[in-house]
Symmetry: C2
């Protein structure tokens, strides 16, 4: 597989395009129904772009990076029977691709923000294809980008995506609660950054089970009670209480 067309122009498309170009994989074209967005991803890398699905060019691999609900609709319009078409969704099965072509999935496990520089070589990619031959070809191609290419089925992929929600999306929400608490008490959020960094760094060496600290682990009911008393938002109170009880029941 030598040529790639990317469909969609969100954060995943942006970073995949950049990762491919950096590793001399030829991205022929970016398609997006909003031309401006396609242009934005394409231009920085001197790639052709279009907002007309009928004008997508012939390539070896099509990567549908659009949202889950658009995969079916977009994939339906890819007319190249000799191509491999993959989507990048964690939770959609391979069958959500509708069209006459070979099908697969290429799921990168990372949080993509447009203007962040990422070390693509470290990102794990999870692939699934209908046939073994495509699996080899896709693995070979993606290995140019990352050392970490794994085969997974749809079920494992869903669990991976859910893990990512816990360790990334929910973790970031915990940061934002910390941010809000700081703001309300005239403390700069920067104060929490060394702690945030060390909490993440610890995990490189220690299992989360061994890295756990804090009042819930120590079964320190008095401190927990003090925190619950000063939390004004009832939903946050409930979340604090539930997580504390889960931690407590794990260690005490």
């Amino acid at each position: 597989m030598k040529t790639v067309v990317i469909l969609g122009a969100g954060n995943v498309a942006f970073h995949l395009t950049r990762a491919f170009i950096e590793n001399t994989i030829q991205v022929k074209q970016i398609y997006n129904r909003t031309l401006e967005k396609a242009k934005k991803v394409a231009e920085e890398n001197n790639i052709a772009y279009t907002d007309k699905i009928s004008e997508i060019e012939k390539a070896d691999l099509y990567i549908v990076t659009s949202s889950d609900s658009s995969i079916e609709e977009i994939s339906y319009h890819i007319p190249f029977e000799n191509a491999l078409v993959v989507h990048t969704s964690g939770s959609m099965p391979i069958q959500s691709l509708k069209g006459k072509y070979r099908k697969g999935v290429l799921y990168p496990l990372q949080t993509f923000t447009k203007d962040r520089k990422l070390n693509y070589n470290e990102i794990p990619f999870f692939i699934e294809t209908e046939n073994e031959d495509d699996s080899k070809k896709l693995e070979e191609l993606i290995s140019k980008v990352s050392e970490h290419v794994y085969k997974t089925d749809s079920q494992q992929r869903l669990f991976l995506q859910m893990s990512a929600v816990w360790v990334c999306n929910f973790v970031n929400y915990m940061y934002s609660v910390g941010d809000d608490i700081c703001k309300k008490n005239n403390l700069p959020f920067d104060i929490l950054k060394p702690l945030i960094k060390e909490t993440a760094d610890k995990i490189e060496e220690l299992s989360p089970e061994k890295a756990q600290t804090g009042p819930a682990k120590r079964n320190d009911k008095i401190v927990i009670e003090k925190h619950l008393n000063v939390l004004q938002d009832d939903k946050l109170k409930l979340i604090y209480d539930l997580i504390s009880k889960k931690i407590n029941s794990k260690y005490n």
Copy 2:
């Protein structure tokens, strides 16, 4: 202030001792009611140690690092009226120190694990004292260890400690949920590490509000439903649902 005695021999005592020694602050003695524990902290640094509170030596500063519930009892036995005695608790007021001496608090905001190397210079220390003169002295001393020394009152300290529960203890619990999901699905936890790292690294540049990604932010009810369906633990389901709703209500 030139000489320090540390009371308690847990993780805070271990790291404070090391931070002081590294920065040529003289730690004269470690006290702990279990001799073995005092010995462990003291020995690596060639410091005297004791398990008899009546044998603690004269020093300029006493740091009570013991658990919240022991502060009162231990501090009661410090007989040196000319000394400054501080505790290291986030949630206890200055008045929890019982004895005839000058009183204060020295609260380091970090997650301490015994065998981790820490860059003490980056750790924020929050100080509170009964009088301004002690505040200056304590600040001067701790500035040898860290560039980040702040004055706070008991109320702010409690909020800081609660922030730390969210951005450290609860974050680590999120990691452990990810770990459990991986284990149950024959996936190595290592797969999540680049994502964990990037999620924390992002925060150096972006506010948590801007860094948020994921199904709850996108208001992707179908993915959320899929995750809730495969989560078997009812409490985790509830936590997932509550956090998702909080994120959703923030962005949609």
